[in-house]
Point group: C2
Chain length 392, copies 2
């Protein structure tokens, strides 16, 4: 038995009798993380607008940082020589680093993939770089996160079948190379399932990676502009072939309604920039759905945006004042909205987990979805595709 | 004796034997403010990037808000119907509101002044507005600050003698009208001395306003692109004709070295956007002068920007990390730098006050100025003029 299973493992606590939902915990060197869990995104070693102290006050146990961004700025060697990522950003709780695969394939303006690795240009200054699976692990070992990810090739939603198959095969080979060279036993290494939106490929990918044996399994290549029904269907197809005793991580999903549905399909871990990004645009989560705080209807509203919410923003400020800050473009607005949305997601995850443990998850899910009005799906898809395109 | 002298007054505690420096306190309905004091600028009912909680942690007893900005957004009636400015922005300590005179004459793209008042266009949407001294007081009474300012006409640094004389005469008439219509005894009304950079006019203005009798006296129309030596000379010329028993407020001055020199010339109160604005540009105050945190020399510096500083930023983060946040344009950078600079200014004011009380102000001043390297004066003036021009 490897040390990783002791210091960095997953414990399944309870499964739902009606759905595939499960409550568990990730045991890591920087603390135990109750699951299901949502990871706020802190790509550049900062969850935008917030201090580590504020994240702790919200109750966030784990965040995500990104190897691609940190490699470009400030440089992996800088963080390593400053004592590692936890110390650098003054965050003492758990960190997961993504390998940078997705960012290379979505942000970098030019890239050339071979079996060996990928040559890409920086989206910041156009400089050329080369990364291999081995380097991705070496970088993540230097950063020192608790959970690290294999380097994957992430095809676009509308790529050809041939390209998707090739990316999957390469992801499998790279996962194996990552596993071979991974040397830090205090870090858990997760594999990433690819296979586009083809159930058969998803099955193959899940089975192949499971046969190699990883501490956890992520589902990559989804939430890239496909309809939500497809995201959930692919999640189902993949989870069916993943082991019960390992955590399952649906990458890039973070809207409240999607997380509730994905938990019902057996997902334990989520990450997404959505809750923090829409907060900065003035879209605030409530149990009735998203609210646009810029709406003039809030001009004189003395209540907070979500009465009863115990976040700093709602405890302290009226919706009217928050609207004023957004109207003026005041930076405090973005922070206050981020605090609120992350508190909402944190509360949602706690409710989900309690419901699973109490055996009431199905009714919680029905009640939540009956009240929470999601964004119109056609508008969502067109906005998402526009956003993805704007990053290329 | 008016109630204002009881609930909202100035108490002189100690004067320096070598200079005109004094320690005192402003007694207001929202607490007692030790002087000399610096007011962080929160024009739009928010000190940019900070929460009220953070300002309290820094030890800030009083902030400045602006009638011009709040009149345009969200509108005076909104704040009034929300229970006043303190409640609206969740700040329970002292507030001073500027009348908007300076903003109308520096920000509004078009204006037409008559003895009656001033017609101006909003810098936001070009809409036309009319303000009189009576309205300026009515608005400030509705906002409910502890200290309010008369409406003044603020000429540009390079206006003709005739224009400066006319602006001064009008400021005097308007001050009288403000005093007549001011009805809230719990608010202290301060007059504003004008007179450009002409000692004779400064004397006339100070004497005239003193003869009318106000709770405090501000020196307006300075720090508008003239050399620092001129600012200080005009401060001297004005203070000589202001009463000992009232607070003196030098508007728009906020660089550390200028405040030390102005205290030596008898000033009690300062406000300026400088400490917070330069913070957002990455210029951080240290006892040796300003530091540019974007400098590559900070890439690997594990110490905070000012070792020994007890602000949240210096207690928590390395200079290297702060540089990284600035390099990436991360919003947290602006907040952390603002916290540091306001903590520095707060500490400076405390040191000044202690030195005055201990009778060691002169040597403190010498020591401070020997260590603190100010920005090159020629560069400062050209940057200031460029900045003032960009706002027009």
């Amino acid at each position: 038995m490897r040390l990783v299973d002791k210091s960095n493992s997953f414990r399944l606590i309870q499964t739902c009798s009606d759905t595939l939902a499960r409550a568990g915990e990730l045991i890591t060197p920087h603390g135990t993380v109750p699951t299901p869990v949502f990871l706020p995104v802190g790509s550049q070693a900062t969850v935008k607008t917030l201090t580590p102290e504020e994240l702790e006050e919200i109750g966030v146990p784990i965040i995500l940082a990104n190897t691609y961004h940190l490699y470009l700025r400030p440089g992996i060697h800088v963080i390593q020589s400053m004592g590692g990522l936890h110390k650098y950003m003054a965050w003492n709780r758990v960190i997961l680093t993504d390998s940078g695969g997705y960012q290379i394939f979505s942000l970098a303006p030019l890239r050339k993939v071979s079996d060996d690795g990928v040559i890409f240009r920086s989206h910041i200054d156009g400089s050329e770089h080369f990364i291999t699976p081995e380097l991705a692990i070496q970088f993540q070992e230097a950063l020192g996160a608790d959970i690290i990810m294999v380097l994957d090739e992430c095809p676009a939603y509308d790529d050809s079948l041939g390209k998707i198959q090739q990316a999957m095969a390469r992801t499998h080979e790279w996962a194996e190379r990552c596993k071979v060279c991974h040397s830090r036993d205090d870090q858990a290494l997760y594999a990433i399932v690819q296979g586009g939106i083809l159930p058969e490929l998803r099955r193959q990918s899940a089975q192949h990676l499971t046969s190699l044996g990883f501490a956890g399994y992520a589902i990559g290549g989804l939430s890239l502009g496909e309809p939500k029904a497809v995201t959930l269907a692919m999640t189902e197809e993949t989870v069916a072939f993943l082991p019960q005793d390992r955590p399952r991580y649906l990458m890039g999903v973070g809207s409240p309604e999607d997380m509730v549905e994905a938990v019902a399909r057996g997902i334990d871990i989520f990450d997404s920039a959505l809750p923090t990004r829409v907060a900065r645009n003035g879209a605030l989560f409530t149990w009735g759905g998203r609210r646009n705080i810029r709406n003039a209807a809030y001009t004189l509203v003395e209540e907070p945006i979500e009465p009863g919410c115990d976040c700093y923003t709602c405890r302290t400020f009226s919706a009217a004042y928050l609207r004023h800050l957004f109207t003026c473009g005041e930076m405090l607005a973005y922070r206050l909205a981020t605090i609120h949305n992350l508190t909402f997601v944190q509360a949602l995850m706690q409710k989900i987990r309690s419901a699973i443990k109490d055996g009431t998850f199905s009714s919680f899910r029905d009640g939540f979805l009956a009240n929470y009005k999601p964004t119109d799906e056609q508008i969502r898809i067109s906005q998402k595709r526009k956003w993805l395109k704007s990053r290329r």
